[in-house]
Assembly symmetry: C3
Homo-oligomer: 445 residues x 3
């Protein structure tokens, strides 16, 4: 094994290779003044180092690749592993590895391992980590893959060297799987915010001349948060139901889902976590209500009014039951929400068996959705039929937000009907409706 | 290596085997139309595939095992690994692996790896995962164990093939270690709920004719939750104290604990987490009080009363100290509770040294129990001696619930007495009271 | 492989070695009565066992090492691995491994693996765990390191046998990296507590004769918590800014930071988590306010006053905006705080790419600091210029606590200026100001 470059990454990689029993040689511009290297490793000039090894790691910035051209003859037939990354996307017209291959056409360039950080290497945080490889030479890729497996890494082959650009973009990715859920969240928040702004603040100002702009900061936000949270939670469970109906309709599980459904299903976890974030904000915003200036003012004026009128409204048992159920359902829903989120932590989820995981995410998840939807329905129990609710002929926001969860729950209920459920289970075990009888043979796990 | 079956599991397993440097051959009914397989693997008919390998993974549903009977001659002397699972417990009279061994008596059947999911295999989430093996042929088991270790798995041998049924039931288990704590929680909740229902709601109705059923939803629940939480927290620490006394009494650590104590000790973590769940609910229920209709009504009527009587009760300094201490202890207890739970997360707990873990779970745990118990005692500080507390001659629920924690704390205090502690430490280091002097030789780590 | 000692550790280690394909022999005092051992292992007398293996694990308490002296001849040239730990620091004048080497001078003693617990070994929780080695014989260390790597461990060589004492102290460490943050937290808490005690309680008593000692329990605590939390959060981000300026001043990233800065930077994560703990307490203390006796008393007396005066203060729109913004910023800050803490969980942080991790910890972290500081400024928006705030000529505590966060934010802002940022980025990529032009060649990753 030879490593070109004695920077942080080169040093950490060498240390790890030495520990796995490999002999490591460093190639350096200045073999005598290149700082502390892991004990057991030799340092030589680039040329000497290249001669002594068949596998060479290039831990050097792309800008300095030119010197490799001068080593052409020594690199013939060697495997070069390009670990470099760029600072930005699209900094260079061609991928680093492609450029390297062009410089040294006689060597077999493999792009890979570039998602490893010096820090992770140094601290031995490799176990089970997934790394990517690509290259045009199958033998070279096999050699690198075996080395990586020995280091405890899990290798995924991404094909030919033309995938190098994709690999080089990996370390630059910023939460790709969070993008869609966050976009949905921002879109929903903006929509409902303006909807409520019009109904709650502008309506009051136009019709009655009340200045209630202070409601924006808390009261409005505390209406937007639960709405977005509930809609996003139901968006977690809707694609599963749609997929079920699609499988039923097609009568097989082997045809691929349409692209949009695939993407949707892949970001369900992130969707749920964003929903939890909104639910968390809703919870704190609600708990904080009694400290607020407006709440205390309201209470005070109620008391003063009552005193002045010198009457007292009797205690309303139904009202007490209603609000208490409303609050209790909300708390319970939030509690289940948190439970769901805990099991999506990698270390917790990893310790569950498949059946336990699906029990939590499916059964408990739908229960959470049901409870949160009920929380929404009880909120509006005495508002659905009163005309004053429909300001400017628009329904209140909480009614709008109950549509998607209701649809998701109804679809799930349909799928749970015994006859539908039985067919679906058979399909998911590999049974195909269209398959001719005689072809039904061995189905595989 | 040979894999029969090209389903999800077969494909993922083959991919992982290829990456670990094995040569993989698939056996298929229809070698020419079996969908995408990992690159590098060959596909043949079952017979040809069986001939070319010594270790064969059976990734096929049990219902289709019959075809293996026809391959008898090709399977002679081979190692067959049965990875199959069933959908329900007790679907078949004999375990799948036993059935397979009966079909192909000349092969060495090993049951195992069936807890792996295709999903975990594909995503390289194997590092350190525990898998189980069983089989009648020791050599075959050793071959499979070595292969599994190479994949990064941790193998646990469960003995002969008669354990196959147990292994096949593993993936069907649903939180076995949570069953006891949840049963205890449900039992305690039901008991205290009815106890409080009688004392708080029915008593008020019978004696004074008050309709206070609305209290069920929140007020009652918020009494039940802290009670159950405190009792369950103390049940986490009680078995440790009992075990200590048992070791002291027996004078050795080498004799096994009675069965019930063993089971109890094994579910302490789950017990604690359930207790935290109840504490969490208690916390939110408490914080939500001021938003509730009844609370606002109460406050209002107090003010109105005061105004009408035209007097004012002076500010009570003792009352202020009392309630504030009560609340502060509750918050502190909850905070420590959450800390304890965080260290029981696999990834956090795994990064602690043994001494740190035991410091948190034992010292901090007992401190939490002490603070929460003090929280309970302060709640009742002025109620213990008033007769009106003992409705229908029953003690209030919070008194009942203080018994177990107090016992646990007293037992722990006794164990901390210097003389007792010294003996116990010696016993836990391997010293035995009954051992004759001359036999005391090397004690082992 | 030979293991001396059939205790818990010996048994678990043997089991793991057997599973990794090693042949294991136990050496025991009483080969015929040493309890259940892992199947596949042989048991012999110490002498016979020593003869049959080249690598011997000593899983015996230090007090019983003497018997090894009698085996001198059999141990010549063998590698002895000392896994022993002590119960307390400094129990013996010399380290266990040094003592062992003195007893058996002809063997090569390697100290190591002593941080492994029998429990972790038994449950296969080894993957990627870091273990330490030290010893005087390089070859012996290499043999042990390779064995450990095969078990899935990550090895760190700590040098010669004189480091053995340090290794033996590892399992006795109690949160070493938490010590500094906790000291800072305790110091800050004590200072601000007494500062507030003087200003809020003693001042009121001395000047007006008011007995307000009940404020200590909740009101005072709820002022101390946010102050300490904010200061500690800013202490997380201050060292990064200082380090940036130091690198700018020195013009290189290759010279080491002063010792105090290094130590400070290493405990930033713990500092932040302690800060979160205080923020959590602040949040609950705040939410609990409306349940408190004093709050309800205050509200009541306000109403009664208003009724008696028979006037009503008009609704103040600015006040509503101010308090609501104050609360909303607090909630948002706490929410981001929790997000930051979640990504510092090992299992969550481990699944992030380097860029994602630094995005969260740097960008989101500074945003959190900014929001929390703004929360503090808004709290005092109408208090900075009123004279009554400066009791006994001291500034209120919240002003004091805003100094450090403001400094940290200003420093960070300076570093973000385009010209400064560009230079710093170049320095962090390896550019050196002092380097002569011609020496600028290959910079390494």
């Amino acid at each position: 094994m030879c490593i070109f470059g004695t920077g942080d990454l080169g040093r950490s990689l060498g240390l790890r290779l030495l520990q796995s029993g490999y002999r490591v040689v460093y190639g350096s511009r200045r073999p005598h003044s290149c700082g502390p290297l892991p004990s057991g490793a030799q340092v030589m000039t680039h040329a000497a180092a290249a001669r002594s090894a068949s596998l060479i790691f290039i831990c050097v910035h792309r800008e300095h690749y030119e010197f490799l051209e001068t080593l052409q003859s020594k690199l013939e037939g060697k495997v070069l592993v390009d670990l470099s990354n760029n600072l930005k996307k699209g900094m260079y017209p061609e991928a680093n590895a492609v450029y390297l291959q062009r410089l040294v056409p006689q060597a077999a360039v493999v792009k890979g391992l570039n998602t490893l950080s010096a820090w992770a290497l140094q601290n031995g945080l490799l176990a089970g980590k997934q790394v990517y490889l690509c290259g045009d030479d199958a033998r070279a890729k096999r050699v690198v893959a075996e080395m990586a497996t020995k280091l405890g890494l899990t290798v995924l082959d991404k094909g030919s060297l033309s995938a190098a650009r994709e690999l080089e973009d990996f370390p630059l990715r910023l939460f790709p799987e969070w993008r869609l859920p966050l976009c949905v969240a921002v879109g929903l928040t903006a929509f409902f915010f303006f909807y409520l702004l019009i109904r709650d603040v502008i309506y009051a100002y136009v019709e009655n001349g009340n200045e209630t702009s202070y409601r924006i900061m808390m009261a409005l936000a505390n209406k937007v948060f639960p709405i977005v949270s509930l809609v996003m939670l139901s968006l977690c469970y809707l694609p599963g139901a749609i997929a079920g109906f699609l499988q039923l309709y097609r009568g097989t599980k082997y045809s691929r889902f349409p692209n949009w459904l695939d993407r949707w299903m892949l970001c369900r976890k992130q969707m749920g976590l964003v929903a939890l974030g909104f639910a968390f904000l809703h919870a704190i915003y609600t708990l904080v209500i009694p400290i607020r200036y407006t709440f205390r003012r309201d209470q005070m004026s109620t008391v003063v009014d009552e005193m002045k009128r010198n009457t007292s409204t009797p205690f309303d048992n139904t009202e007490a039951w209603g609000t208490d159920s409303f609050i209790a359902l909300g708390i319970l829903g939030f509690f289940l929400y948190v439970l769901l989120a805990l099991t999506s932590l990698p270390s917790v989820g990893g310790s569950l068996s498949w059946r336990e995981f699906s029990f939590i995410q499916s059964k408990l998840g739908h229960l959470t959705l049901f409870i949160c939807t009920a929380h929404g329905y009880i909120y509006g129990w005495n508002k659905f039929l009163s005309i004053s609710t429909y300001k400017w002929y628009t329904p209140p926001a909480f009614m709008l937000c109950l549509i998607v969860p209701s649809v998701a729950l109804v679809l799930k209920l349909l799928l749970l009907l015994p006859c539908v459920d039985r067919t679906l289970t058979r399909i998911r075990q590999g049974w195909e409706r269209s398959k001719p009888k005689d072809a039904v043979g061995v189905t595989n796990l």
